[in-house]
Symmetry: C2
Subunit: 375 residues, 2 copies
């Protein structure tokens, strides 16, 4: 293998795949990045057995690289990244000599790294399906930021550590819950999907993919298989395992009716909850109590050790009904943050029934927070 | 105690003293900030027994506060900070009721905190000396950034975890060493000091004080006592304990003569060392070897497991002598970073003698790095 490549081009590729580098080093070869140099492209692959990221750099007419000899090798990920990042030169030469010695050199710098034979890399199948499901990048990013936070981090309930993608016809319904709150996003797909899918994607993996994408408006192809999903985006392939198990049916969890709807200014309401929870911040469930007196809203919290807070706010009360209800400040704040609007509707069914948050101008997103009994 | 105070004024004061808040909570009262409200000023004090910070807010004619009732109380530091930071109002009211209940309120928010009687606060003497030593803020900041990094973090040698201030006549000599390298800064004081001092100030404390100061050009008064030092700056008093023990005499450590002086471009030389140390980054002492061939300089490093690096650089060789010498890349880089100049002189006395770094235009700073035998 021998090539000369633009530093920034290579660095961009390495940065993308490096997110899949195994830090645990259980399988030494997985701390390496596989370089495959073909006659018209360089393919970089990294994997930690949970996710696999592959990117390719195509030979272009802007002199992005010169391919002198095809070949493959595995290079220690952390060293190649550091070297490429710190070399000041515009172009970098990479050459394999004596089978497993990797020379990385510019005019004044020369690195010789010990490589690993590419045959030792696990055989990872990045196959594509015949009928991928297409999704706008912006919508995909919304799904992740608006639902992933509500997943559980408790590995004792594996299925709740992922986002449920439920696809039927041209509807994609995404659910995420840790059993104390639920985030639901429903989007219309551009094309009818022939098959129904009901899968669970690990939240941390889908968040990682969402971060790699950056901002833009490219189409994402989702290739769904029995136990894995492959995202195809720009020059990136991102594959994640799926979580086994049946996702709980959450469709009957969201109340359809409510007797009281408050319309609040999102930022104002968020700040009020934030302040009301200051004194509770030591406890896991930072409970605050909301009480209405028509359009006057009071948020209170109390800690025997530290003290008490009382916050007041004027809101729009659509029903002239009243409620007193307690909930986790953190869950409420995270649910509020997921909305892109200035105003949010907060719907109450009863003191021990789920609280529902909606944006009156966008029906696609529903946030649900369970109340906490305080007596 | 009762007052109304501008939020930003109070927040600024709380931020300053909060750096001394004890996080270990061994003495519960030290997790609090002492508020003392006099007829014309509010004094805030925090201490972790190692450092004490006090700041005062004087009643001004710009309506910064209204003092309604004098008094004192200790308020939990972390809560009062969070509350003041998050209140949106321009003014905040603070009032002590029922002796130990603290009301903090604005139009729509009301906090009630449990306070602690000010009598429970340890008696900390922030006395001033008759003849403080004056130092420019900029010079003080230089001393800290140019020497503190070279101190030891090993508590087994307490005296080396501090900066040695050696004052005689109008000369202040500051030394910092971990016994593998030495940083020395010599500054001229504006006034002759009657008494000689030879003290050791804990590096982490002096760094903390340097951070609180911000940028500016105010005069600092240093009040030195037997076992403590009080810095007086703007409206801040910062007191630190001193480290007991005799600081090693470092005056004969710095070679006075050298047979080879290289003049290097600081940034270029730094980058070369940085790259040469990439493959050694796993080891504590990341050793690189420097070799000259007249004006050609080579930096090499080698790791059996990972590989080797060779970096080349053209430098100015003032003596047409040559050397081959090994040292810690990290120590060399930290020494280089302490200079404000574009060029640095690197002086060699021999392969097993200290390497000396100087700025040819500024004699006040000397950095010394010990070589490492590699054979």
């Amino acid at each position: 293998m021998k090539l000369k490549i633009k530093k920034l081009t290579l660095l961009e590729g390495l940065n993308k795949v490096s997110k899949a580098l195994s830090t645990k080093n259980l399988i030494p070869v997985l701390s390496g990045i596989k370089f495959e140099l073909h006659k018209d492209k360089l393919i970089l692959t990294a994997s930690d057995n949970d996710i696999t990221i592959q990117t390719f750099i195509k030979l272009d007419d802007k002199n992005n690289m010169t391919i002198e000899k095809q070949g493959s090798i595995i290079i220690q990920g952390k060293y190649i990244l550091d070297i490429v990042r710190k070399l000041p030169d515009e172009y970098i030469n990479i050459e394999v000599v004596d089978e497993l010695k990797i020379l990385i050199y510019t005019d004044n710098s020369e690195f010789t790294l010990n490589g690993i034979n590419e045959k030792e890399y696990p055989n990872i199948n990045l196959e594509k399906s015949k009928n991928p499901i297409k999704l706008d990048q912006k919508i995909f990013k919304d799904i992740v930021t608006q639902t992933a936070f509500a997943s559980s981090t408790d590995e004792a309930k594996p299925v709740l550590t992922g986002i449920n993608f439920n696809i039927s016809g041209n509807i994609l319904e995404c659910n995420s819950t840790d059993s104390y709150r639920l985030a639901r996003k429903i989007v219309n797909l551009k094309e009818l999907v022939g098959e129904n899918y009901n899968i669970v994607i690990p939240s941390k993996n889908i968040i990682e993919f969402s971060r790699i994408m950056g901002d833009g408006d490219t189409m994402i192809n989702m290739h769904i298989f029995n136990n894995k999903i492959l995202f195809e985006y720009d020059n990136i392939l991102f594959q994640s395992r799926l979580i086994n198990g049946t996702y709980p049916n959450t469709s009957n969890l969201i109340p359809t009716d409510s007797y009281l709807t408050l319309v609040v200014d999102l930022d104002e309401f968020y700040s009020v909850i934030d302040r009301a929870s200051i004194l509770t911040s030591d406890r896991e469930k930072n409970i605050v109590t909301l009480q209405t007196d028509n359009n006057k809203l009071t948020i209170k919290s109390y800690s025997a050790e530290v003290g008490r807070v009382e916050e007041k706010l004027i809101v729009e009360n659509k029903n002239n009904e009243n409620i007193k209800i307690s909930f986790s400040a953190r869950y409420m704040m995270e649910a509020l943050k997921s909305f892109n609007s200035d105003k949010v509707e907060i719907k109450f069914v009863g003191e021990i029934k789920p609280i529902v948050l909606k944006d009156s101008n966008d029906d696609s997103l529903t946030q649900l927070v369970l109340p906490i009994r305080t007596y």
